[in-house]
Amino acid sequence: MRDVAIVSFATTGPLPAVDDTETQMLFPVISEAIERSGIPRADIGFTCSGSADYLAGTPFAFVGNLEAVGAWPPISESHVDMDGAWAMYEAWVRLQHGDVDVALAFSSGISSRSDLREVLCLQNDPYYLMPLWADHGSLAGLQARAVAEAGLVDEVVDTVAAPPASDGAAAVIMVAGDRAREVCERPAWIRGIEHRSDPHYIGVRDLADVPSAQVAAAAAGVGGGPIDLAELSAAHPHEEVLLRRAMGLADLVEVNAGADPLMVAGLAHIGAAATAIHEGRAGRTLGHAASGPCLQQNLVCVMEGTP
């Protein structure tokens, strides 16, 4: 394995409802991440983006977002229709090939122009669940009750409201080896990164448990040392409870949890966990991304400030 670090991060943070196009929203964020890294644009060997064409309402919408990277010099790039954390994972894999030293990963999402309760139904299986239009808030409600009835939280709720939709974008620059030390005083070295999935149909799962988060956290080496700060993608309080248990963070004091914006939250959490290392506020941090209904998919990234 090559040593790879996040050396810079930029984000809009959650925005209530942007009037810009996704490309316009991305442009200053990507520029800021690149400028903050101190690395010339031409040195970026690979670019990977994360977004959802379903949110944009048109196929191949992600292609237009590349305008925010620039038409020159020509780039090697890829896209995932997922949270930018998975784009970052692909960029990390690409850097492991060894012929490229710098990668840009970015993501964007504009949720304010669609009804997420309908759009997110399209991520359910098309035969058993999607035709019922079981929205993500309702499915979260099923999980909240499972968590309550398992005795993991005190309060049983009748219903769970989906968090308000927000828009936003985020970008990170990842650099391999000595180049990272040259451009960043305290790079956030990626010590472990793993993503796993639980079965798609929620009826076959124990909703009071998240095995995929547990396995991903173990594989990413969470237990290999004390975690100073964890950044979790958790839309609801019960999700934070489940993730803390699954990852062995039950007693960790410094946990920032939150879910918005869609497609950006995971990359933004990982970026925030990296920033804590850049700024010397933490020595070993964890960033987490989730996708799918009821925490179906989980990505865990463990970073350290020492080489």
Partner: protein, 146 residues
């Protein structure tokens, strides 16, 4: 501020496809008011039928009949149904473990209110009058009489 380029999109999945011997059999069974499940090599009975064992990933093609009644293993109340939900009145989403099955089926449960729903209650399907081989051939589940 709304711009003069605002456009409204409607997104749908408009695919026609063969469902295969497992999912196809399950949905076809609904037309005849039969509930089929797949049985894994280890004997775990999965309803609605899946083509693979979620634990091992092995293909599963052994179908058995389950239900029609079952037990609610989880639920959440929907006080304000959305336009596309299976009910225009407040209802519950329920995880229903049908008799003979080891996993739960997600569907709507008609009930007078959240106080009329509890984990462990017995329910039966209410079938749609016209059944076409879709999951909505089950109109909803209702509490079992008596």
């Amino acid at each position: 501020m709304p711009s003069d380029t605002d456009t409204t999109f409607t997104m749908e999945l408009m695919y026609r496809r063969s469902l295969g011997p497992v999912v196809g059999a399950f949905l076809t069974g609904l037309r005849d008011q039969r509930l089929l499940a797949s049985r894994t090599a280890e004997g775990r009975v999965i309803c609605p039928a899946l083509e693979y064992d979620p634990d091992s990933g092995d293909a599963v093609d052994d179908l058995v009949e389950v239900g029609p009644g079952g037990v609610v293993t989880g639920w959440t109340w929907v006080p304000e149904p959305l336009r596309k939900h299976p009910s225009d009145r407040p209802f519950a989403w329920a995880l229903v473990q049908l008799d003979g099955a080891d996993t739960a089926l997600v569907h709507a449960l008609a009930a007078d209110g959240p106080d009329a729903v509890r984990t462990g209650m017995r329910v039966v399907p209410r079938w749609a009058d016209e059944r076409t081989g879709h999951i909505t051939d089950i109109a909803c589940f209702v509490p079992e009489e008596g």
